[in-house]
Amino acid sequence: MSHVPHPRPCGDFRTSYSDDTSLFRTRFEGWSIYAGIAALLVAPLFLNDYYISQMLMIGIFAIAALGLNVLVGFTGQISLGHSAFFGFGAFASAWINNTTGLPVFICIPLAGILTTAVGMIFGIPAARLKGLYLAIATLASQFILQDFFARADWFSGGSSGSLAETVNFLGIELDTDQKYFYLVLFWVIVSFLAVSNLRRSRDGRALVAVRDHYLSAEIMGINLTRYRILSFGVSSFFAGLGGALYGHYLGYVSVEGFTILLSIQFLAMIIIGGLGSVTGSLLGTIFIMLLPQFMEEAASAMAVVFPAMEQGKAYIKEMSVGAVIILFLIFEPEGLIHRWRMIRASWKLYPFSH
């Protein structure tokens, strides 16, 4: 997607296919990611609850945003119903746990698989539709699923919502944020690794081919229907997984949380982060999750001068989401990851910026 060259260290020539599709582009990149994971592993020992819960939420939403990025960024399909699948995962995990009594840590991936099935059903229109028509079809699925949650008492508890048990892993009750953090971290690493690997596999390349030119892709022997529905399935799996983690974290799942506004926020995350970029999904999620707090601070600071700002805080936060979507699309349509690559390139190429 981006046209900025990725400057590599001198002498780093890729002489085989396996080099070209390596997971980490340079050894330094690999080590910094390992170091990052190690830092996150010890983080709960040092950080207070507030930071941990923030990181936890970012992790949960990043999983779902990553799923959406597979659909939108890799395959070029549009979904305005992602939060419905996120919600479905949350309800499904609580439902499996409450009806069958299976341990919660098994229910979470099971909920992901169940959501995959639902996502594939709602992905069937994608076999024939594209662009705008698909966007509208997924909009309809958002409303239909939302209506289903509000009505299906047996599944979601209807308007009263359903309770989600805390996770008990081999006798350890994950009841504090610090303990739950490790569970989320585990799934974040698994998801990001899975999608990075998907990107460099045959199926991943097929998805990108469908995005770039679907007619050529079909002529080259890629089954469009299959890959479009597959990408809906993959994206729903991560949505369901994130949703299940979200539900068990809050302990209570209710219908109101999964509106179209959340779907739009997911889209905002991947657009701001960078469509089709795995790292971008994470960057965008961090940006969107921290934005309201930043705006809160900014509004409080402004309130010293303009007292009207104080009562408008809640609205300013909402407006900022809309505003950043517009601003990013106008000024940086390729997202934060593109900005980061530019910065890196200018460092590497200094003092010759071109």
């Binding site: 229109p125 966007a135 889209l267 809309g322 349509p333």
Partner: protein, 297 residues
Amino acid sequence: MNWDLLFQLLINGLIVGMLYGVVAMCFVLIYKSTQVVNFAQGEFLVLGAWVCWFFIMKMQLPFVLAFLFAMAFMTIFGIIVQMVVLRPLIGEPIISVIMVTIGLSIFMQALMNWMFGNSAERFPAVFGENTVSIGGLQVETAYLMSLVLSVLVMGLFYYFFKFSRYGLAMRATAYNQQVAQSLGISVKQVFSMAWAISALVSCIAGVVLGLVNAVSNSLAIIGIKVFPAVIVGGLDSIIGAVVGGVIIGVLENMAEFVDGQFLHIGNMYTVAPFYVLIIILMIRPYGLFGTKDIERI
């Protein structure tokens, strides 16, 4: 069977459907001439209603004057939105264009919540009589006015596109932008005009809805209801938009009736149009009157 209720709902559906048709026309107008899907159509409508309400209640203007001012305001607003937000995105992929109007709709929704509050506000009584008797049937004046205005707007649209010079320019641009430009039509102007007309007509629909119910930000849901209407009618057909609007208006009221009388599922009023939407998309995605997309390699 409750025939009176059925009849009442049918009339309701027809009147609401005409309004959907008007909003759907605005939507189709923008889509046809600028290839932009306006997810903020509902917010345009609510903003128009709020501005009119503001002129009446806060500035103490008479209704007609306030209505005219609101229309002027929305026309300018439409042009500004087109110039500032959408012009930089010409030629970008469809997801960017969709997302930018979604961003606009979130922004406007929050701004209106802030400026005008979350509660519904009534317009002052504009008509002396509340109901008029037509052929023994009591019809609310506001409903009658909405019907008359809808038909009037549709007539004006027809006249504009069929006989006026600018209408011809817009049709030419919708047909083929490059050819239109080479014949000396200013495509920029046409784009601005499409947004201006769309915002203006949305404002009319918003004020009418405000008179019928009350002004509140939840009216923006009409902007979502428009999608089933335009898909049923065909995305690029103005006649289709009107027909689709009426079909959806009647359909949701019929769904309400069938549900209330026999099924007792609840909430069919909001969801039924979306089931229809999915079915139409599966079997006939170009709608009743739309042009079928043929792709050649």
